[in-house]
Each structure stands twice: as C-alpha cells, then as structure tokens.
Amino acid sequence: MIQVEDLKIHYGEFVAVDNLSFSVKKGSVFGLIGPNGAGKTTTIKAIATLIEPTYGEIKLGDTSVLHEPEEARSMLGYMPDFPPVYDDLRVDEFCDLFAHAYGQSATERKEKVDLALAQTDLTDKRRDLCKSLSRGMKQRALLAKSLVHDPSVMLLDEPGANLDPKARIDMRNLLRKLADQGKTILVSSHVLTELEDLCDEIGIMRNGKMVVCGSLDEITQSKHTQRTLEIELLKSFPELPQWVEQHATLSGLKETNESKTHFQIIHSGSREEVPEILSQMIGLGVEVTSFTTRKSKVEDLFLEIESGSSSFDQDS
C-alpha cells in the first residue's frame, strides 16, 4: 500500500534522508525506529505530502504522492509527533472542522465525529475546550481528527510519546484494530517495546538510511544477530570465564548472582551452534541446570544499530 523508492531529501547541504526504500503491505502496521535525527519524521512528512523530496518516488497504492498530491491527501490520516490543536475549539468542533474540510455533509459529519470520539474514548470530553486537555488527551483528539475522514493510510509520528501506560495500551489496541479493519499504518516511535507488540514489520533508520527492515522474526532470527545465552549452574565452575574467552563466538560473560551460578553470555554465531555450545559445556563437566536462549529484542537491535554495529552496516 505504501511504497517508498530511492527517497532522498536534502535540507540545503544536509541530507536528511538518503536513498530510502521500503514498502508497507495493506492492512499492516509498519514501525520506523531510529535515534533522533535518523530521518523518521522527515520520511513521514514526505509521505504526508508536507515535504517535497529532492528525489525518489512515494506511492500509496497506485497514487503517486508527488504527482497526485490532492488524491493522496484524501487517503491519508496524519498525526504529528507533538499534539498541536486549536486551543479555542471544543473537541467535537475540532474533529468537525476536519470532517467539514474533507467535504462531508452535516449529518455525515456528526456520525463520523461521534464514531471517532468513541473510538478514541473522548466522548465524555467532547464539549471540553482543546486547551483544557492534557497532552495525552490532545494526542487522542488528534487521532480522532485523523479518523474522521476514514483514511486508508495512517501516518503516526510518535503516537505513544505523551500517553500514560493505560492510554498507551489502549492506543496500541486501537491501532491494531484499525489495521485489522484494513487500514495501513506507518508508525514511528522511540518506545521500542511498544512497536514490538504492535508492528508486523519494522525498519530501523540511522543517518537517513534504512539499516535493517523486515518482520520482527526475520530480523531477530538473522544469523548475524547476537543472542544472549542465560545459563544456571548447580555450583560454581571457576574455569568457565577462560573457556568463554577461548571460544570464538562467545563473549561478554556476566555473572548475575553473587554465588557465581547464574551467567549471561553473548553468542554471535549461527543458531545451529547453540546446541553444540551446551554439549561442549557438559563435556567440560559443567553442571548445567538451566540453559536458555533469549531472543534478541528490538531494543537490543536498536541499541546495537545506534551504537554503529558493523554487522548491520555490512548488511546495509
């Protein structure tokens, strides 16, 4: 549904987005992750027709965002990373303004506004002035405003940034529900754990480039990806650190209790090597009571990429 090809965006001399390509399937949730200045917001704004790219193509279905911006806009719902609202409008008036601007009749508007407010749990606040809302509530009012014209593509820049934990869970559930209804959602966030549970696919950006992109399983199961081995011993085994040092794919031994029976070891080899490591340890005489492979989380990946891990640079 969203196709970005060779996107380049320059701000004067500065290259904000450099040769970015990715696609988002219809009815799925795609998460853009990256440190500040990675180019996430710029990318979302370009898709939202708010920034004209220096080069490249963006398509929503068959509609070119660059050549048919009016048509593209009618398909888009956009929520920026901070919630500007018309302070002196009531919440329902705020939503009604946009339903009206999208050409809906008075009856249609009322129906859509009621539905959007109910979806975002703002029905009780409908007559409140926007300026009296908390940041989280403003965020919801923005989401309601983005829903009133029933867009097929939703662009959400840091949607959970100002929400309390419950509201964040509600937002996540709502976005999942919208995706299940067939809406395509592109979301950026720094709350990485939130994206793990929400997104079907993620793309990690750094310095305007897409470093890694795909489904969570594809990324975390990648053979180049590091994983953490959590090991519990019956009793301490003093030779273990030396053995780890000699092992080419093991590193970062960390004792997690004082009795030296709980360890974490970083393994950077292939998945197939893991049973071999366990059997080698048993062969050494280590009394293993528990051996767990902790799947690398998106957050680990993110930190790895943010710190400039060479394996991802090679991939990209």
């Binding site: 708010l50 004209e52 220096t54 806009r73 956009y78 050409g103």
Partner: protein, 551 residues
C-alpha cells in the same frame, strides 16, 4: 459555510467574546462619535465682517455628523486594518510554527477556499466589532446628508484595502520560512507597502498612492465633509490643494477617477498575493511566484510606472504634492532646478524597478537545492534539460528578460523627455541609455548568480555587504572628510547600482548644472568604478556558478 470561517467564528465569537468585544466597541465608538459630533455641531465663533464683533454661529447637527464621520472611519480602520491585519499575520505564523497549518495543507479544500477561510475567519472578532460602528455610520450619513454614491465608493475601496492588508499578512505568514520572523516581516511589509510607498507617490509616481484609501477619501469624501454654510474659497489652502489634487489621476494622456485607479492598483496586488497564496497552499516548497506569473506582474508594474510618469516626462507635469513642486512649470528659467526634479523622478523609477527585479530574482531563481532537484528529475524522466519555465530551471534568461522590459520602459521615458518641449537636456539618447543598461544587466547577472549558488543568508548577506556597507562608509566619510574625499565617496556610492542613475545623470548634465571640471571628472571615474565592480562580480559569480554546476 467555509469550514475555516466557521472555525474562526467558533474560536473568536463565543458568548464571552461577543459580550466583551461588543461592549468594548460600543463604548469606544459611542464616546468617540458623540464627542466629535457634539464638538462639530456647536456653533463656531467668528468675526462679523460688518461690525467686527465676535459672534457665534448657530449649532448644526449636519456639521456635527460630518465632523464625526472621519473619526468613525479612523476607528473602523483601526479595527480592521490595524487589529485585523496583526491578527491574521500572527495567527498564520503561529499555526505555521505549531504545525496546525500542516493539517490544513493536507485537507482537500481548494487553495482559494483556504485563503478565504483564513482572511475572513481569523479576523471574525474585528468584523464583529466593526458591525457595532454601523449604527453610528448610518446616523452620520443621514444627519450629515452625505451622498450615498460617494460613501459606497469609499467603503468599496475600504474593504478592498482591508482584504489586501489581510492577504499580505497571510501571504507573509506562508512565505517567510521562520515563523517568528513572519510577524515582524508582515509588519514591515504592510508598513512599507502601504505607508512608505504611498509616500513616494507624492513625488510623482502617483500610482503608489493608490495602495491606501486616502486618494478616495481626499477626492470623494473630504469635499462633502466641509462645514455647512462655509464657502469653498474660505477653506485652507492646503485643504483645497489636497482635495483638488485627488479629483483625477493622470495616466498616459488620460485621467482616471481615484476610486477606479485604487481598484486597479489594489487588484494587481491582490492578484499577486492570491497567486502566491495559491501556490504555497498547493505545495509549500514551491517558490512564491512562477516565472510566468512574475513576468506578467513585472510587466504590469512597468506599464503602471510608465503611465503615471508619462505626463511628467512629456509635459513636465508631476502629480503628487511634492511632485508638483518640481514640475517643469515651477522652474521656468531655472534649468538647474528643473534637471534636479527630473533626476529625482528617474532615480526613483530606476530604484523601484531594480528593487522589484531583486525581489523577483530572489523568489523565482532556484537555489542550489531546487536546482539539484530539477537535475535529478531530468535524469529520472530522461529529459534533455530542465524545462525553461520550470521553477527548477536557471533564472538567467528570466532575469535578463526582466532587465529588457525595464530597459524598454526607461528608454521610452528618455525618448519622451528628449522629444518634449519642456525639458532641456545636455545629452543624447544613447549616452543616457548605455551606462544604465550596462549597470542594469551586470547587476542582474551577479544577482542571479549569487541567488543560485547561495542560500538565503549568503545571498542577502552579499547584497547587504555590497549595497549597504559602501553607502554607510560614504556617509561616514561624507560627514567627516567630505570635501577632500569627494572622489572616494562617489566611488563608494557607485558600487550600489541604485546610486548610478543620479551620478550618471549629474555627470551627463554637468555643464547645465554648473559642476566644476574636477568634480565632473570625479563623477565620471565613479561611474567607471561602479561598472568595473559590477562587471567583476558578474563575471566571477557567473563563472563560479558555471563551475559548481559542472561539478
């Protein structure tokens, strides 16, 4: 109803606003109106021509209403032109800063509806306050026996000006990249366009005066506001002069009513601002004007300049209060003063044209970013080159054509002057045209090259250094060591192309003015120095631009 106007009404006219703004307007308006009315209606003390005693005339409600009308008009102008313009500029800038404007960019509303929504929706409260002045206006018209036709003309121009000011404020908010700067720039632009430029109108370029409602007020309203029973002959000289002056506008060999001319002038500006607003609402990254619309606007501008200055260069008759002072008829037999007036008017013409070209070069010539975008698109679509009329294409040809249009107008004025029975010049057509033409084209070359290789700071910094700094240095030198450094001062002045015309014209007519020989040589050297500097910058910057693009 337009959604944005409805939004403006909802935001600005809730019950508390209705009560507060309504009461405020009513109290201020009634105080002002009643004070002026009572003061005006009182009989005035005057000397009896027969007995030479002081006698008081009878009180007159007609005089009271006529006296109060001007105050009422000023209050209405304060609400809509001052408060309303400020509000449109600041809200547009605020919405741009906060990102609210992005939401509006994304709605599928027609750009013109969005513009209408902003300029009528944001000042909803000011229009509401204006509404409270209407009963007083009705009273003034009825009691003061003011002709309805004149009042309708005045208020048509009044609302046209209000729309123009609000549109200017809105366009500035959309165009100026830094939102905080937008509110300042809009104030400066409104002040410059509608206060400073109309001032220049008084020096002969009459069309500039028609950016305000003053010509219609002086021409159509002031004569009907005279105190009842007072003869025309007993009015003050200044009042008579100002009233008579605005009765018609000389344009080529025609005369046009001030109201019609105001509509023409303001219509041109409204058209320009609408084109800008439309483009910016359609796509934020587009330049404010396309090359084609810039041509049309510059052509109309030059046509208006030519039309207004026609009678001055042809018959020596300048319009404007100051202009009349240096009309040829005022200086019969004093040729040095006559030429002074001519140099002043031609300098204003040249400066205005060059500043207009500078603005259009700044708007329509692509910066490096836009040019790069064009190159990449050409590669993508396999085009041989960037289309000439595209925003991304090089602006050299465009800028040179602007120069040609300007040169054509300038030569027409020179030709008119040389064939006129009123002006006596000590130089030929060619000698008056070649130097200004050379300066004009060299300046255009370096303006275009600098615009296309630098971003805003670099471009305006360069213009500031090259045009303003030598002027300031010459000022210091002139005040401190003027007599011994006249040659240096003239050279510094000549770096700024706006100073070239007076320097060149004085040099060309040095004998008529009675300039000493050595001073005349200083003027000639200054012109050559100005040409040299402009030529050097044009060559260096064009070569650098060529090299950058090759790279």
């Amino acid at each position: 109803m337009n959604p944005l106007i409805l939004k403006g009404i909802r935001e600005n006219l809730r019950l508390k606003h209705l009560v507060a703004a309504g009461l405020f307007s009513l109290i201020v308006c009634s105080t002002l109106y009643l004070t002026a009315y009572l003061n005006g209606s009182e009989g005035k003390w005057d000397r009896d021509p027969i007995t030479n005693d002081w006698v008081k005339s009878e009180s007159s409600p007609v005089n009271g209403a006529r006296n109060a009308f001007t105050f009422l008009l000023a209050l209405q102008g304060f609400y809509l032109m001052f408060l309303g313009t400020g509000r449109v500029a600041s809200i547009t800038a605020e919405e741009r800063e906060s990102g609210l404007l992005d939401y509006q960019h994304m709605t599928p509303m027609n750009p013109l509806s969005k513009i209408a929504g902003y300029i009528f929706g944001i000042p909803a409260r000011e229009y509401y306050m204006f509404f409270f002045t209407l009963p007083f206006l009705g009273h003034a018209i009825l009691v003061g026996k003011l002709p309805l036709a004149n009042i309708i003309q005045l208020y048509s121009v009044f609302f046209c000006s209000v729309i123009l000011y609000h549109l200017t404020a809105h366009a500035v908010g959309l165009v100026v990249p830094k939102p905080r700067a937008a509110s300042w720039v809009s104030r400066i632009v409104v002040l410059g366009l509608y206060v400073v430029l109309p001032g220049l109108g008084q020096a002969g370029i009459s069309f500039l005066s028609f950016l305000t409602i003053l010509p219609t007020y002086f021409g159509k309203i002031l004569p009907i506001l005279q105190r009842d029973g007072i003869e025309k002959s007993s009015r003050s000289v200044y009042e008579t002069k100002i009233t008579d002056f605005w009765q018609d506008v000389p344009f080529f060999n025609l005369t046009i009513s001030p109201t019609t001319f105001t509509f023409l002038m303001q219509g041109l500006l409204i058209l320009t601002l609408l084109v800008t607003g439309y483009r910016k609402w359609k796509n934020q990254s587009l330049p404010a004007l396309s090359k084609a619309s810039a041509f049309v606007i510059f052509f109309i501008f030059q046509f208006l300049l030519l039309g207004c200055l026609w009678t001055f260069f042809d018959k020596g008759e300048a319009s404007g209060l100051i202009g009349q002072e240096f009309s040829a008829n005022s200086f019969k037999g004093r040729e040095d003063n006559m030429i002074g007036g001519l140099i002043l008017v031609i300098s204003i013409f040249f400066s205005l044209s060059l500043l207009f070209i500078l603005c259009l070069v700044n708007i329509c010539c692509p910066n490096r970013h836009l040019y790069l975008k064009g190159i990449q698109r050409v590669a993508k679509f396999n085009l041989p080159r960037i289309p000439r009329t595209a925003d991304e294409s090089s602006g050299l040809g465009f800028s040179l054509i602007l120069g040609l249009i300007n040169l054509f107008t300038y030569s027409a004025l020179i030709n008119l002057t040389l064939n006129s029975d009123f002006w006596v010049l000590g130089s030929s057509f060619l000698s008056l045209c070649i130097i200004p033409a050379a300066i004009l084209f060299l300046t255009i070359c370096y303006l275009q090259a600098s615009r296309e290789q630098w971003f805003n700071l670099g471009f305006w910094g360069f213009i500031g250094l090259l045009w303003i700094t030598p002027l300031l240095a010459s000022l210091v030198l002139g005040v401190g060591w003027g007599e011994e450094n006249i040659g240096v001062i003239l050279k510094l002045l000549a770096i700024n192309p706006l100073s070239i015309i007076p320097i060149h014209w004085i040099s060309e007519n040095s004998e008529m003015i009675g300039l000493p020989q050595n001073l005349s040589q200083d003027f000639n050297s200054a012109i050559l120095f100005g040409l040299l500097i402009a030529g050097l910058f044009a060559i260096i910057l064009q070569a650098r631009l060529f090299y950058l693009r090759k790279k």
